[in-house]
Symmetry: C2
Subunit: 338 residues, 2 copies
Amino acid sequence: MLTVEGGSPIVVGDLVTPGAKRTIAFYAHYDGQPVDPAKWKSDPWKPVMRDGEGNDVDWKTAKTIDPEWRLYARAAGDDKAPIIGMLAALDALKANGIKPSVNLRFVFEGEEEAGSPHLAQYLENYPKILRPDAWVLCDGPVHQSRQMELFFGARGTIDLELTVYGPVKGLHDGHYGNWVSNPIVRLTHLLDSMRDVNGRILIEGFYDDVKTTSEAEDAALAKIPNVEADLRREFQIGATEGNGQSLNKRLLLPALNVRGIEAGHVGEKASNTIQPEARASIDFRLVPNETPDSVKPLVERHLEAQGYRVVHETPDAPTRMKHPKIVRRGLSARAHFA
Amino acid sequence: MLTVEGGSPIVVGDLVTPGAKRTIAFYAHYDGQPVDPAKWKSDPWKPVMRDGEGNDVDWKTAKTIDPEWRLYARAAGDDKAPIIGMLAALDALKANGIKPSVNLRFVFEGEEEAGSPHLAQYLENYPKILRPDAWVLCDGPVHQSRQMELFFGARGTIDLELTVYGPVKGLHDGHYGNWVSNPIVRLTHLLDSMRDVNGRILIEGFYDDVKTTSEAEDAALAKIPNVEADLRREFQIGATEGNGQSLNKRLLLPALNVRGIEAGHVGEKASNTIQPEARASIDFRLVPNETPDSVKPLVERHLEAQGYRVVHETPDAPTRMKHPKIVRRGLSARAHFA
């Protein structure tokens, strides 16, 4: 059990193979997403087995197990399933008398869903344990084809919160519309300056560190079953980003996802107001060689190049008066294995 | 008392001047905005007089009335104040023995804050009463200089609600970001195609009907006190739209105000999701010669010219699959005197 102050413990288990020189670590996390029981069909804390139609199944007394049955409980899939999978694999190794040629290490984290706030400190405090020869990160979906899959890696995440300012109070647009700047419009233009509708990031230098795939990687990519037509039907989408490039090619590139935008109200609650501010939440997906520290200055420079004064707190009156365009930015790097 | 089915009554009072051939009608509305008592310092339904510092004043026993005192009560300003003003003006006419040379008509509406949903029907049902020789619309703020002001007119309003669609359910952007189209980004691009950051509407033909000001109007505009520096300080804005054009010039042009935008969440509540939809609420301010009927086809054509399939209901699966870009639009004209 590894601990750091204020953090949830990391649980480590070792299976040492005599004479082995390398250690392979298997990562999973034992924490789950916040749960809203009102959105659950049954108590999320009491596991229930259901068949493909969603009907409860008494699996303990069943003669056979239907592979389409699923266990429903809070965090049963993400990320308890891999832990159970590891135990089953160990049982299978033992039952078949197979001895691994490497040391096996099992590392279960407890803060993944919170953005792993103490992981950097764990890595610093426990370098011998947490820097094995290789990691296998067991947190992710099964491939859509249901075939087993080994990932090259996973894109990291950095969050960016943007707030663009208009007048210090909401104003009637009948009286001031067309003269007082609209912060929503400024924000939409700012977002559009950052990426195009095809997913291409327009921030200068963002692709400089992106490395091209190797021949071995290209060959591996070519063997992945094509599930795109099925996905398009499932998601009901008439077109994809990236001018028809394959999903797997697209996942090898950095991405800028606008995950939320908020200002004023829409529909019945909307009022004819020039809003005082508009906010957007972005997450960047980063690829090998890109780090939060390498992209932060690129983002900062981009905002400034659009004529924005970049601030990190709500601007005061003199700041608002002095700068025609102001954006508050928050950037937080999170060690996300997703 | 004028009535139509389902509508709040319109109250009409006439002061007939013998021999007068013309009738001037004074409009005000007796309804108010929805009230949230929790946001009030005192009961909104009990009028309270306060001085310039916000302290309660016992005005009934005061020897003199300070002109900086204000009466606080729900809808006391918008739009009861003009009604009291009219009564005071009538009292003043009578006290000074002044007889108007025209018939006076007072028309008080009860649904202005709800968008005057029955006003068109009232105008149709009561043409003799509601089509006087001239209207004076008494609903608007005092000029910022506190001088008396007579408006040329008021811009009308038409609302536009836009919904842009992504995948039919929220998707993890680590798995699908860069391949499944992001509806927020589509919406920001669509909005940006409709107006620039300077307030210029980019919808083809939108300025075709806009008439230029007459010499008399230009002369009147030139006499309005310039309050722009004061306003910029009050609103704490470092720049205005329209490349430095004056507020009054800008109010003579049509405007496109994005009054609300919503998709996903920002800040702590944000999640790494490709959202299923993104919504924006717009209101257009229209000038003489522009009507809801004249701009509706321009808006529709613009959306289609951006490659969007325009729908009026939530699209079904075949529609979603067939069209790369889908927008649902709602357009509602409201007779707004503001």
